[in-house]
């Protein structure tokens, strides 16, 4: 591993200052950053360990929401009784990610900044515009079975790998960020960027910006996360669906839908939601909505199956939520 400086600030101001310097990186659980440093993909000069900062609690918000500190570990968040009761989609998404050991280390803040698992990003011998801007994209004509079909560009078709973020996108989470100029609040759906011509810029964060918390508004609808992958555990999503649904007299009154494994960012399926609300909660409508959302897909030979898979997974998830609701 390339030599680097390591600092562990005890207050947020020092942390933001330390990380504003070029070549600095925040370290949370290290489950992604350390891997990437070993592979020579991330090459920070300074690692700013923020696990000592006091952002490790989950607190009630007035009005029934929750505020999740950025240093809360994935395992702790998934097990939090309030999260399990009020945001089952989030607890399920967390438990679908990585392995028990990794979830014990991984933090909420770090998970937001997880980097893609595209094999060409991971191999420094390959061309990758995200890793080496301007070098090209070997995934376009290479192994792209896991790659994105929505929101892609000719310069990058990598997916965002997080499960947690897909649930957060469906829940209208808001990310609280501390930067040089104070605190900002960014909706989760605006937090990640689409690649365009600059796939190396993945979020709307400025240098030194520190994620301090994620806030969840109250959600009344029942919710669920469904992850589809190549083995039962410890694999990234081919497709995942985070959904929340309320049905009244057979009519959809509220729906939230986000997709993972299909786009460079957690994909909030607004078009599908628009089509579903006010319509019948039946299989045909679910399918129509899912297909409309996926109509804009850009396909490669290996990942074309994701359209059918994503549509079926949306249908299956909404079907399950609508039957669960009916039985209540």
């Amino acid at each position: 591993m390339r030599p680097f400086a390591y600092v562990k600030p005890v207050d947020v101001e020092t942390a933001v200052l330390a990380a504003a310097k070029p070549g600095a990186k925040f370290l949370g659980g290290g489950t992604n950053l350390v891997d990437l440093m070993r592979e020579g993909i991330e090459r920070p000069d300074t690692v700013v360990d923020v696990t000592g900062l006091p952002f490790d609690t989950v607190d009630e918000l007035p009005g029934g929401g929750l505020r999740i500190g950025a240093m809360v570990r994935n395992s702790a968040l998934a097990a939090d009784p309030r999260v399990r009761a009020r945001y089952p989609v989030l607890s399920q998404a967390l438990l679908c990610g990585a392995s028990g050991q990794l979830r014990n280390m991984a933090t909420v803040g770090g998970n937001l900044l997880q980097r893609t698992r595209c094999p060409y990003f991971y191999d420094t011998a390959a061309a990758c515009n995200k890793r080496e801007p301007g070098s090209g994209c070997d995934a376009l004509d290479g192994f792209n079975r896991g790659c994105a079909i929505l929101g892609v560009s000719e310069s990058c078709i990598a997916t965002h790998p997080s499960d947690m973020c897909v649930a957060l996108a469906a829940l209208d989470a808001v990310v609280e960020v501390r930067g040089a100029d104070g605190t900002r609040r960014i909706p989760l759906t605006d937090f990640h960027r689409l690649p365009g011509d600059t796939p190396e810029i993945e979020t709307t964060l400025a240098p030194g910006d520190l994620v301090t918390a994620v806030e969840l508004p109250p959600v009344a609808a029942g919710s669920r996360y469904r992850k589809v992958r190549d083995r039962a555990s410890y694999a990234f999503a081919l497709v995942s669906v985070a959904a929340a649904l309320r049905v009244s007299d057979g009519i959809v009154t509220e729906v939230r839908l986000a997709l993972g494994g299909v786009a460079p960012k957690p994909w909030r399926a607004r078009e599908a939601e628009r089509l579903l609300v006010g319509g019948p909660a039946d299989e045909a409508s679910f399918r129509r909505a899912a297909e409309a959302e996926l109509a804009a897909a850009t396909l490669r030979p290996d990942n074309a199956f994701k359209v059918a898979l994503a549509a079926s997974t949306v249908v299956a998830t909404l079907r399950m939520l609508s039957t669960e609701g009916a039985s209540r």
Binding site: A126, F143, D230
Partner: protein
Amino acid sequence: MSIDYVKPEQATGTTRYVGQAVDRVDGTAKTSGQARFAAEFPYPDLAHAALVHATIARGRITAIDTAAARVVHGVVDVLTHENAPAMKPAPKMSMLNLGSIASSSSVNYLATDEVHWNGQPVAVVVAETVETARYAASLVAPTYQELPAAVDFATEKHNAVPEKKGNPLLEGGADKGDATAALAAAPVSVDLEFSTPQYNHNAIEPHATTAVWDGDHLTLHDSTQNIGWVRKHLAQRFGVPEKSIRILSPFVGGGFGGKGRAWPGTLLAVLAARATGRAVRLALTREGVYHTVGGRTPSTQRVALGADAQGRLTAIVHTSVSRIARVGGLPEPVTTATHHLYAVPNIHLSHEVVELDLLTNTFMRAPGEAIGTFALESAIDELAWELGMDPIELRLRNEPERDPVSGKSFTQRMLREAYARGAERFGWRDRDPRPGVMRDGRWLVGMGVATAFRGSIHMPVHVTVRLGADGKLVVRCALHEIGMGTATAQAQIAADEMGVPLESVRVEYGDSELPRGVGAIGSAQTASAAASVLAACAKLRKAVLALAPPGSPLRGRRIEELEARDGGLHHRDGGQTYTEILTAAGRDHLEVEHKPTMLGFLARTVRDSRRWVKATTGAQFCEVRVDPDTGEVRVSRWLGVFDLGTVINARTAASQLRGGIVMGIGMALSEQTLIDHRTGRIMNPSLAEYHVPVHADIPHIDIDYLNEPDPTMPLGLHGIGEVSITGAAAAVANAVRHATGKRVRDLPITLDKLL
């Protein structure tokens, strides 16, 4: 035929230890961290090595800049083809030179500017710490002149040529009758193409070597399943006598064939130690294992079957294309099992091979049968669908009395019994034969079967057995413990043979100074060692009897009249303990050796192989659940019933058989090595992206075996390391076919193939 049901993990035989579920004798050492693996031997002057891998498939190194690496604090040396001491070239492959079979490729690392595969080691950095070595390795900057390379099997398979060289270790093609004509005339037939991807071994211990030179004497700690071959090979490459090399490999963290040869990491650790004068440890990263240790060849296969309306087979055609590397590798004998499984008058079996600019292929659990049975047993299942016949019935109807190609006898063949017992135990008759009908909630349920087959071999092994006046026994042989329970099984055998408690037996192994063993390959080690342990113990009992003092109740007895039990030799009229006999004779210990000669062994093997076909077989039963929305396949139940001869240790045997099935499930559903079609580079060299099954993928695996001794084998036992992976992938594919109506012919059966 009725066979009493024996729960395999309980007592079986009449002997005290053989057949029992005895705990591993090294279990505590392993679970308490005291068992030492190759990268764990400390030396005061130890330095660490890291490899620099080529990033092109084929070409020449035009320059290699090591300046940045050399100035890193703690770097001892950077070895490249420009400065490394030369090794002798790899010997040409020959059956008469075991060291040549150990050769993993013909490339003479760091003695050439040529690059032959993407990932080939082109430099070695030696440093004071492993972190320093790996960092400095990342700073070594080779410049290449690239040459055109053939790396894509899917494209290049059309350039395959009939395989002539053959695999010296396994059988190849065959012709009997006129398969083409019989196929054309058959009233019912199937003719199917199959493909399997490259697979890689993923032993829990990545390959590691610690090499220490003292003058011309080399001490090596190596994660090898083949001490003997590796030692011979190193002696040839470094120009020293074999006896001046000592290899110590008491524990190896899994091999699966991937540690059967001398891979670049071993050679370069020895070279680096030679060049620097330091003890050098080279522990490969997982990625390093993928780049320097070959996997299983990909294949395409055609299986065509003809049958009459009653399901009697009239023709089998099984052909394959596989690959080796331009710089070595052995052709995979894909159709081996097809020689032996079905009574068919017309048979055509052949192989074609293409040479690619990739890392060599190598042995991987049941080379040939593992992927060959996928195609054959899928095709048999498909023929059963065509015939509207139960797939077990179809198999039984074509079960041969004699070996179909050679006409030789089977020493043992109890496949009928295995299927009968398995069908009962698995509830096969509850299966609704129609596809896509069985359900569990929304899940589609399917059940499939397939036959397992693996030829059985054994080799001559030298052992010594030492009996102390304290009644303790030491069995010595350079065997390998790569997880299967080697010492435990041989201790059980020796304890029974000498009638001493298991606790009184110590097995010494994993050291080239010990009497010559055999590689832990080809499912050959346990039977090979057992034959010599039995012979040595027989000699030892005679030697003890000869010492019986005057007045001993043993005096004047013939050995056949005596029983070894209770720590001594006994006649019905009385006996004496070993301690009594040796003490009375004034002996501290007695030691005997058994050294079968290679010539005698070969003569016997040739004689046997003219008469008999020896193999282990089995019936694999798989139940899957398939999600109709997403195509996800989950194996929900498994039963394997095997005909293995005598089982020595019920616990370790069941564990090893389960391991093969887990690996077969991985083959079937999730594993594949992704090799970029442009660069020949492996794009998923990690446990995160190469999907071996995880616990959540594997249900309880029910293991059963017939436990009928094979009269031609020592103690009636066969090796069992490989048989259970065979047939496993087909059983999954056949269950998926039953659940969904879809026949997937290219592995792995990922969900996109079922959407």
